[in-house]
């Protein structure tokens, strides 16, 4: 991933999306989604606990965080695939809490899935046609009279072929979706989602399992969505991809939003580094554990075995918050002192 240099010009980032200081829950100039006090617990464990979150319109927002942070759960909640325990959120001003998934999709908010759901039993073209919004023939009684929906079917087919051409899948139109490769299926899912002219496209790990040759193409398509006036929210693990195309980044950890902002600022936020990247990312693991001294002789923290154990225990949440803070303070100090040394 790091080796792929962008063949086209660097993406134009949207700026000025927020009003006020950058902090978790900051308001946006033109939010498309506003979520309040959304929680979802599974048997005592809080999978999602978001106090306030706003997603900016016509921008590409990335939702990142370690495994188990609650990203996909939040996705499922916002798209109606799951019911929250508490909370409310609105889409384009319309409250969506309690609205079933299919209604959410009809309102202009489409999503893709982590494990691609290209319908293998249908052809690529049939998959695309399924994504269309207005087809009278999809109602039971009209479907019995082909003359009622034939014209719409032709129109939908034209639109489908056009989108497929953009995604370079048009040659595969009559093949069963099951015969496509994994990456092609991802493209198909994205293409299919575009059939309904959505306002907000939510992609759940669009790069997962895609071979590097196709990632460039996928990135182009996602950027394309923004140029066409849509809003994009995607979940990803790939940090390079995120900083490449995202206008705004929201970081989740343990169900909460720990940070949000433009990518360059978020990457440097200690809370993010701590939660997502690990406490000693800048330091060689051999140095941290004292196996050998630091190569450049710079001031680095050497942790004793007890300190490492204490940090581990603190992260496992078996220790009170004060001790946890104490364990983390030398880490933050080490990170900042290393940066000073680097400068």
């Amino acid at each position: 991933m790091s080796s792929s240099a962008p063949k086209t010009a660097a993406p134009v980032k949207s700026t000025g999306l927020h009003t006020g200081d950058i902090a978790p829950g900051v308001a946006k100039v033109d939010p498309i989604i506003i979520a309040d006090k959304v929680t979802r617990t599974f048997g005592g464990l809080a999978a999602v606990d978001v106090d306030h979150l706003e997603i900016p319109r016509n921008a590409i927002t990335a939702l990142i965080g370690p495994n188990g942070a609650g990203k996909t759960t939040l996705f499922n909640l916002l798209t109606g695939f799951d019911k929250p325990n508490t909370g409310d959120w609105s889409f384009n001003g319309k409250s969506l809490s309690g609205v079933p998934a299919f209604r959410v999709a009809q309102l202009g908010q489409v999503r893709t899935f982590q494990l691609t759901k290209a319908l293998g039993l249908l052809t690529v073209l049939e998959n695309m046609k399924l994504g269309a919004k207005t087809q009278l023939g999809e109602r039971m009684l009209p479907s019995l009279f082909p003359f009622l929906w034939r014209k719409q079917e032709t129109e939908i087919e034209e639109k489908a072929m056009e989108i497929l051409a953009r995604f370079k899948l048009d040659t595969k139109a009559d093949d069963f979706a099951a015969s496509l490769s994994g990456g092609q299926r991802k493209l198909l899912e994205m293409a299919r989602a575009l059939m309904s002219d959505p306002v907000l496209v939510m992609l759940d790990e669009p790069m997962a399992g895609v071979n590097p040759a196709l990632t460039q193409s996928l990135l182009e398509h996602i950027l394309d969505l923004k140029t066409q006036g849509m809003t994009v929210l995607f979940v990803e693990h790939d940090m390079q991809m995120v900083s490449h195309i995202a206008d705004w980044v929201v970081v989740m950890a343990e169900g909460k939003v720990v940070s949000e902002g433009p990518p360059d600022i978020v990457m440097k936020d200690p809370a993010v580094i701590d939660a997502y990247l690990g406490a000693h990312i800048d330091t060689d693991l051999g140095v941290v554990t004292g196996r050998y001294a630091a190569a450049d002789g710079s001031k680095t923290t050497k942790l004793t075995a007890e300190q490492i154990t204490a940090e581990g225990a603190a992260e496992a949440d078996e220790v009170e918050p004060e001790v946890k803070k104490a364990a983390k303070r030398p880490a933050a100090k080490a990170a900042s002192s290393k940066k000073e040394a680097d400068k």
């Binding site: 299919f102 319908l119 309904s196």
Partner: protein
């Protein structure tokens, strides 16, 4: 062994009202399971509602015979709604259990003394044929050739049944080639994907349940037309026979259920003629009564084998099946 008589008797079952009725009900089951992925094990209940709806409308309420058919179809619709609303949002297993239980409830209600006034409880209903026969356009007489010689009333039942079967098959044909059918196909494979595309999955499943149920009721009506309506017929074994027919022909095909029904009943008739003779001639070491039961054991074993070794049936395409891993 009188092969002539055996073949004669068997041939008649090619177009017997039972065969036609089961074919209609099997098409309904195809809509449920083949196309909709719904595990409906209560088809006997739908057939009973059709048959009783028809008979009771005529006998207790004096309605014309065609109104009786409509009543049967309405009863099936209500039944489908009652079954679908609690279960369609749950796993497929639950629908299976509820439908089997509901069909038994229907049979119990028709057998109990409580409604004897309308249903004649265990003895069943008869004598409702006048209206239907009155509408018979065929002049009196016996027609046909060879093993297919019937009176005008017998022909009328068969022709009417085949007409209904043709209409039902046409509806399924049109539906499944339409966008509605496309959505249903998607739902069969992956509900969530279709939901994410803005389709109301629950509504589609419910429509499929109602449509298939109405077809089942029509099958029940055709079954009752030439004979009587007796509750002991509408047992779970009947439902299981329909499943065998469906899977034999091909669950998600248009003609599979029809061909399946014909093959099923022809074989059953053949065995019903041959086995007792073999038993009587002491070729098989079983009694006459046991010979009649052996065919049903075959059905159970056949269903087993079909599902394991050729789940797509005769006409089906294995790649198109969603219930096969």
């Amino acid at each position: 062994m009188d092969w002539g008589a055996v073949l004669n008797n068997t041939a008649g079952w090619l177009i017997s009202p039972t065969t036609i009725a089961y074919a209609i009900a099997a098409v309904g089951l195809a809509v449920h399971f083949g196309y909709g992925g719904l595990l409906n094990f209560g088809m006997a209940g739908f057939m009973a509602l059709g048959a009783y709806g028809y008979a009771i409308s005529i006998l207790s309420f004096g309605l014309p015979w065609w109104a009786g058919i409509i009543v049967g179809m309405l009863a099936a619709t209500v039944f489908a709604l009652i079954l679908g609303i609690p279960t369609l949002r749950l796993r497929a297993d639950y629908l299976a259990i509820v439908t089997i239980a509901a069909a038994e409830i229907v049979r119990l209600l028709f057998t109990t003394q409580v409604f004897d006034e309308f249903t004649n409880s265990a003895d069943g209903l008869g004598g409702y044929h006048a209206g239907f026969r009155g509408a018979n356009p065929i002049p009196e007489g016996t027609y046909g050739f060879g093993p297919w010689q019937y009176t005008e009333n017998q022909w009328w039942v068969r022709i009417f049944g085949i007409l209904i079967l043709a209409v039902v098959v046409l509806i399924v044909f049109l539906l499944m080639r339409s966008p509605w059918g496309r959505v249903l196909k998607g739902i069969r494979e992956d509900e969530d994907a279709v939901r994410a595309l803005g389709k109301n999955v629950f509504a589609y499943k419910m429509q499929s349940l109602v449509l298939g149920g109405v077809f089942g009721a029509l099958g029940g009506v055709v079954f009752a037309l030439p004979s009587a309506v007796v509750p002991a017929v509408y047992v779970t074994s009947l439902t299981f026979f329909l499943w065998t027919i469906l899977l034999l022909g091909g669950a998600a095909t248009i003609f599979g259920p029809v061909v399946g029904s014909v093959i099923f009943w022809v074989i059953m008739a053949f065995l019903d003629n041959v086995l007792p003779q073999l038993a009587a001639d002491d070729i098989l070491p079983i009694s006459n009564i046991q010979a009649a039961v052996v065919r049903y054991i075959f059905v159970g074993v056949a269903l087993l084998l079909i599902v394991i070794f050729r789940p797509q049936g005769i006409f089906g395409n294995k790649k198109e099946l969603t219930f096969v891993k």
